[in-house]
């Protein structure tokens, strides 16, 4: 549980307060929306992908600090990257958040994104962190909307909210 203390680090709080790449891109050629119906997190992503490279990316939406900071840092991390490299990051981020990627022993490209490592100990919050990445994956593959619920659920069995 000591990781939890580290989750709300200044970098996450700062990205929540001042999200980077916030807004939408006019004339973007890739769009996707992601939402987590159980907590109201909602992300709209727009991108321009040219020659297999993410030229510009922006997001807007409502959500918790974890979701917003994750989206903000994600846009910074994938801007200028190739689609393949962005996909590798999506997989690595998912692996970190769900605990299947061991940051100590396995090589990865997560860098600053490791501030989200603590989320793996909070199963009910994993989806908050993953939603933007899930949405990015959908945008890269031209799916127009994704949800954290249902078939595409990255973390089945971690629904928030029933009583």
């Amino acid at each position: 549980m000591s990781d939890m203390r580290q989750l709300y680090q200044e970098v996450i709080l700062d990205h929540n307060r001042k999200p980077r790449n916030f807004g939408s891109i006019l004339g973007a050629n890739r769009h996707a929306e992601g939402h987590n119906p159980l907590c109201g997190d909602h992300i709209k992503l727009s991108m321009n992908v040219l020659d297999d490279k993410i030229e510009t990316i922006a997001f807007e939406g409502e959500g918790c600090a974890i979701c917003k900071a994750s989206a903000s840092m994600m846009t910074g991390a994938v801007k200028g990257q190739s689609v393949q490299d962005a996909e590798i990051l999506v997989e690595e981020f998912r692996g970190m958040a769900t605990g299947t990627l061991d940051l100590e022993s396995e090589a990865n490209h997560l860098g600053k994104l490791k501030v989200f490592a603590g989320v793996k100990d909070l199963p009910s919050r994993v989806k908050c962190a993953i939603l933007p990445w899930h949405t990015l994956h959908a945008a890269l593959y031209a799916e127009s909307s994704v949800s954290t619920e249902g078939e595409a659920d990255p973390v089945p069995g971690t629904l928030i909210g029933e009583e």
């Binding site: 549980m1 939890m4 203390r5 989750l7 709300y8 709080l13 929540n16 307060r17 159980l38 907590c39 109201g40 409502e62 959500g63 918790c64 600090a65 974890i66 979701c67 909070l122 009910s124 919050r125 908050c128 928030i160 909210g161 029933e162 009583e163």
Partner: protein
Amino acid sequence: MKIERMAVEGMNGERKDIDRMNIERIRADFPILNLQVSGKPLVYLDNAASSQMPQPVIDRIVRYQRQEHANIHRAVHHLSELATKEFEAARIKVQHFLKAKESREIIFTRGTTEAINLVMHGYGRAFIGKGDEIILSALEHHSNIVPWQMLAQEKGAVLRVIPMNDAGELLIEEFEALFNSKTKFLALSHVSNALGTVNPVKAMIAFAHHHGVPVLIDGAQAAPHQPVDVQDLDCDFYAFSGHKLCGPTGIGVLYGKAQLLEKMQPYQGGGDMILSVTFEKTTYNVIPYKFEAGTPPIMAAIALGAAIDYLNGIGLSKIEAYEKELLDYATERVSALAGVRIIGTARKKAAVLSFEIKGVHPHDVGTILNEDGIAIRTGHHCAQPVMQRFKVPATARASFAFYNTKEEIDKLVDGIRKVQRMFI
């Protein structure tokens, strides 16, 4: 329970000192309250979701499993007779707890949800048809919405919803205006789980009866916190859950008036709910057994009986008064915080405090409070229509039990301040 009696006597004056002594004794009955969470003493303020279990109930479970367990209503051997006797004794405890006329009006279910589904199937499917109207309130938990929606879909019936005001109180004039010749059922919560509103159910039941409409009361949030008298309320059905009442999960109760239960169809088929079975015809058992197919949660029912004994030892009126004090204190302290809005400000409330902190998502609030060992509920509380009404995706909710203290509320307030400092 000697000290509790002292507190009852002291209720009219200097309650506070006596209560404090009393509360420490009560807290000592709950082993889980000694836990450390995130290295801090647990502050458990999620009682509306599930309450904790006192040692006497835990002991009762252990005694049953060690010395009394067998299947009930079946064999003639010693253990089966003993388990049957204890199971049926629990039913009588529930009967007295709800002040029901007869013990056969008490049906054991898996919880409130199953109790409501039982009424939907057993009564609704038999007596509600195309074009008929079912009245619900805007405050309902999903478990008192979805079954009726399923029935409406199946039968072509219509759901009508009693609206509420900005305080979270049902609008009684609008409620009365919903009744017409097509109205066939009223399903209503006694206390709202999301906002804490205590509905004026007695008057609402009387009004519905005036129109010949039977009423189901979802008492999940009421039965653990105040005395309930189903004969005085005159409700036709009353449902509650064991695990919100210091008992185990997997057990709940449906009270129903005998004459209604008798004309209802069974909910599930199986063993114990029959008198005789041939391949041509089955004769159903009498109530309550007609509605208790299969081997019931025997241990859980007996433990619920023990939980009722425990609460009676303190006294539900005393619990209600003490929890009111906690709610008033929490309301005063939280409403004094700038940037915090309390959602649900009904004049009559149970010990539920839903709130939002400006600029902070409730899930962040919940996770950060957890760092200080404080357990609250965040989310939509299975009452999405309530969230929609107040235009919030979710709320943070602290809900109190008689074993909570004002010191714990102080910790909650400190926790809220810490969240605010982090998000400035």
